[in-house]
Symmetry: C3
């Protein structure tokens, strides 16, 4: 039974909660491991339409890794490599999740919390949210697997600013930096996430999965082969396309079934 | 004779008009083919200084592919691959056009319309323009060749938002997302495009062609060879450089001849 | 003795000044060479914590290459290749500087001046600063090594706009384009740079160097090897990590020593 990550399902929408509210959802090795397991389980589940990742409560998404673990789990390079392998597996599970993932960000979203959010597809936060990666104050660095999603999201220039200066900054600056998708008043974050998830799940699930996979593929340096290009037309042989087309002509909402 | 794409020339400036105003310039297979032919013809023409791409009328740039064609031209994967090949050739012709291309966007710029605009060098629109890719509502996807220019323009994060959520949104949001170059009042779009084209054609045509080619090349993963790097200095042996230099010293406007 | 680049040191902070104020700090072949030498010397110096690059005076960072040199140094391709080699070496020295580099931008930042600024890690300018690359008016182009940092900073779409249109534009537009990190009132540029440098040098120097190196590495197309990934955990065996951790627990400022 997971202790630190709560997983709830409401029809096709899964909510994954980083669940250490007494510590503002600071991340620990078992929490990272449970988060990876939850994401892999959801990714494999064909009935999932959208995943929401959030922190427990409304004070914090996550402030990053729990400092209290350093003494026992990350006291030197050898330990840190093992800890880093757990983080890497989880970051990979987030990146490779087949379904759309929305980060619901209340409050603090810093360090490892921002790494998790960076790997979600959309990031919705409140006006009072705070962002940053002040890891340089501990004498530590983000590893390649933590850093690459941030660079992909905001570009190398802004990534350098965030890491070298180490400031913690507000939601409007995060929006201007391209770090979040949307900022709303604090008391409307949950409602905006709900409406966004609704827009996502009204679309064809296979189209969402393909779009995510294609955008990941485009970022790899190898050229797209003709065979890969042909898979882009598989959608025309799906039942969902026939449903979408019929619904469009009939001016009704389509009922997609991921078929 | 092209039926669906109108091509006009005014000295070195060519205007390519998506010309199905009764359908808001919805795209069809013959229109895609004619657009590709027009772009290849203009690209090969050394007398061209700038190309403007626009939709007929001021209601719409283009709302994307015409749904009425799906029954006969895109009813299954095999048909869609053939249709997709026509789109791919045209998108490639847009991308490889040697001359600067400005998208003059009035009104709707959605789906395939946005794909065309994404491959122009500058995008100028009015305050009431609308953007988006709601293809997920039909159960369909953008293929790699449609998607890559969007990802190059706005990055993978915003591309995921646009495709997964499928919202149609306004000009100011498009500007904030980096999807358009400039937003002006609706009744000033044509004038702003005219002034922009003027700024472009006052520059040396060879410099424009080289800059376009170099920026395309930089996005490829292969390292730039020394031989390629040396071509960057060919400009110093052109007549236009001598003209530009003399004009600068004489404080007059240069008269470039693409030589 | 350098003539055109002034190098000052104040503890770990080095200030490099493009020093031709009578010419608004226009760049010449010897200035480029001296700038490269200064950057390489500072990069090799383990006592450096941060470098500030600025122009002499408060009218101009730099307007780019001095036109007066064209007659003798860049009159044809062969000369321009030799000149370009000097620029290339210096741009590379800027890019490869191990320490954080902040551009302090007063006034004009155009052409080669913008190229230098693009290779700094943060760019702070005043409200009246002006940016652009109007090189097309001379019939010339940016070479691959000048262009690549601009494309990395603002993306291919905005790079095309800047080069094809050749406009010179203001600080707020530069900020919206992602060309500068921060815009402040003209009389607060020096103070904001001072505060930014302070935030940078309060962090662990090795973390800054690693972060810079990692972000550069991520932009290369080759996949990160496991051995490279393991170097990300070297920081856990540094004295500075122990200092950072102890200081965090003691709620005091850490005193890092780059060890």
């Amino acid at each position: 039974m997971p202790e630190f990550v709560m997983l709830e399902r409401d029809a096709g929408v899964a909510t994954v909660t980083l669940n250490r509210p007494e510590k503002l959802n600071a991340l620990t090795k078992p929490l990272w491991r449970e988060l990876g397991e939850a994401m892999r389980q959801l990714s494999d589940d064909d009935s999932v339409r959208c995943v929401v990742v959030r922190g427990a409560g409304e004070k914090s998404f996550s402030p990053g890794n729990d400092i209290s673990e350093f003494r026992t789990e990350r006291a030197n390079k050898a330990q840190a490599i093992r800890y880093g392998q757990v983080m890497r597996d989880t970051l990979q599970a987030l990146e490779q999740c087949r379904h759309p993932v929305v980060a619901q960000i209340h409050g603090i979203c810093v360090g490892g919390g921002l790494e998790i959010a960076s790997l979600c597809d959309l990031r919705i936060c409140g006006e009072s949210s705070r962002f940053g990666v002040p890891i340089k104050n501990l004498g530590l660095v983000m590893s390649y697997h933590e850093l690459a999603p941030l660079v992909a999201l905001v570009g190398p220039g802004i990534a350098r600013e965030i890491l070298l200066e180490g400031r913690v900054f507000g939601a409007q600056e995060a929006l201007a930096k391209g770090l979040v998708t949307r900022v709303v008043p604090d008391d409307q974050v949950a409602e905006e996430v709900r409406a966004t998830v609704q827009r996502i799940v009204e679309g064809a699930p296979l189209a969402a999965r393909w779009h995510k996979a294609f955008i990941r593929r485009i970022q790899e340096p190898e050229p797209i082969s003709d065979a890969e290009h042909e898979t882009c037309f598989d959608c025309f042989d799906t039942e969902d396309f026939r449903e979408g087309y019929d619904a469009f002509l009939a001016k009704r909402k389509p009922a997609f079934r991921a078929l």
